[in-house]
Symmetry: C2
Subunit: 337 residues, 2 copies
């Protein structure tokens, strides 16, 4: 599974980058940056940006990263202990000082388009394995995780429906309960408590999906969800393959929309909220920043090129305005598919 | 002491805002925003900003906040327990579910000037009191805290020396050990672990200063530090009064310096680091964001108007460049006074 998953995300990374580059042939290509991890494994960070200028650039994308990493190493006992909560198959010995070998592979992307009418998108697909300390072929625990979510500055119901419908279709082919539960999980996860707002209009979020009962779908029947490594991998591939069809049409139809300075300002304020979520609340980012030897530049590629903060900004205060409409859906997540 | 401290910070807030407004008579005035706290107390947030524009503004300041708050309420047992580590006079009852009344007053300011050669500055002066639940006049614990620190994008040794010398002089009149220990504490506190960099070139940081021995100056003699409410208040006033003389001359001499787009870009990247410190590491900000009912807009007034993130930016990589020089001092704090 390790090699097959690594192959899958390597191909998906290439497909996504190629599609984005073809969309905007006059823009600079993604910067493909391969790195090796001294403790084991490697990654390819692929980043889009344009040189700083005091006059606004005209590329479709403003900043984007489509990264993969395929790493292995050893998990300290504290990390193993934490993982046991969701993976009872991990050995339990409260006095153990033993580290366990792990393998982790994933694709992680964030795309911040320039046009205020074109939404930011984030996606992630990952596979994790813990093996026996002296028998490398003995897998003690394994699971998949992932999802994708959309963060517009202006709400277009058509876009929200399109995005969710594509994700729902990818889910439904692999289990009747997946979309419902993972949509709710996404709304809960990408929430900014100190603002009382969701980061965006949601999508899918899931973790710890393996052959054991899942806390989010405890009563799942055989048809409700995939249960085997093979069928879960097929579901994750379907979700990954749905990424471009779910997002690219939206980007294409909004990338050249007319926009005003006031709309740009609102977009930059929303980018500020994106930064707040990622730095204050996102468990993945926090975990990464606390991990000694973590590759900070790859973790923080999710941050926008530019963000803005205003004290008690009046934009969005009028519920009838387009900005107020967005805030309304961020405060009360809706069903879109 | 409550009223005297509240009076002091009220006056200091006015003095600082007036000085900043006089510096730039063509700029809009600070927006003075008084608020009341439903649970008890009030604050005055005073914020400087200019309207969003696609062309750069020409004011000396870009964004600034000079806030005071004077609040009271009740501390949940968990908070009392945490405070006991530094304040043994607080009652210890592991089974107690009792909240204790508290009073907290403070001035907090952050000034982000527009010119890349003019440094950002932060300062804070605060007084805290915990009283007996049924005898309001019985003070169970009290302490002062505060400090100020400078965050330049470009290092001017003259500025760093001036800033630290003014703070040192304020300290030295109130105890021979204060500057040395609080300068080191400041370097430790304003550190961004995931970047391996200090936020700026330091200043003073202190907390929990009361009539008990202090963990940072455990062997202090009578002459090393102030020991009474009166003498500690006098020290905090001296530090507060030193703020304008320590910062204003620097702002005046750098505010109209010539600067390039490349220098603006570097300043915005440094602002990104400021955001990272404040959102990921600053204990005050984190505590505020987690506190139900906290005034988020006042807490986040510290964030800059605009910040920027680049993947593996090449600026600063050359140790001989002016940007590289700044990074060198952020990685290895220096003695300035």
């Amino acid at each position: 599974m390790r090699d097959r998953f690594a192959d899958y995300i390597t191909g998906l990374q290439d497909t996504i980058i190629t599609a984005l580059e073809q969309l905007d042939p006059n823009a600079p290509p993604f910067f493909r940056d391969r790195w090796d991890r001294p403790e084991g494994g490697y990654g390819i960070s692929s980043v889009f940006s344009v040189p700083f200028s005091s006059t606004p650039a005209t590329t479709i994308l403003e900043k984007a990263g489509v990264n993969i990493s395929v790493i292995h190493g050893s998990l300290p006992p504290a990390a193993v202990k934490q993982m046991r909560a969701d993976h009872a198959s991990l050995p339990y010995d409260p006095d153990s000082q033993e580290s366990l070998p792990f393998f982790a592979a994933g694709l992680s992307l964030v795309i911040h388009p320039r046009n205020p009418h074109a939404p930011t998108v984030h996606a992630n697909y990952r596979y994790f394995e813990v093996t026996h300390p002296s028998e490398p072929s003995k897998v003690l625990a394994w699971w998949f995780g992932g999802g994708s979510d959309l963060t517009p500055s202006y709400l277009y119901a058509d876009d929200a429906r399109h995005f969710h419908e594509k994700l729902k279709a990818a889910c439904d082919a692999h289990g009747a309960a997946l979309y419902t539960h993972f949509k709710v999980w996404c709304d809960e996860y990408f929430f900014i408590p100190h603002r009382g707002e969701a980061r965006g209009i949601g999508g899918l979020f899931f973790d710890d999906l393996c052959d054991a009962p899942h806390k989010r779908i405890p009563d799942a029947s055989l048809a409700d969800r995939p249960w085997t490594p093979e069928s879960i991998f097929a579901f994750v591939r379907a979700a990954g393959d749905a990424f471009l069809p779910s997002y690219l049409p939206i980007l294409q139809r909004r990338a050249s929309a007319e926009s005003t300075d006031a709309q740009r300002r609102w977009q930059l304020l929303r980018r500020g909220r994106y930064v707040e979520f990622n730095l204050v609340h996102d468990r993945g980012t926090k975990f990464g920043l606390m991990t000694p030897g973590a590759r900070i530049e790859s973790i923080l590629m999710s941050l926008p090129e530019t963000a803005r903060w205003e004290y008690r900004s009046e934009i969005g205060a009028n519920a009838e305005s387009e900005e107020g409409e967005l805030l309304d859906v961020l405060r009360k997540p809706r069903a879109w598919a």
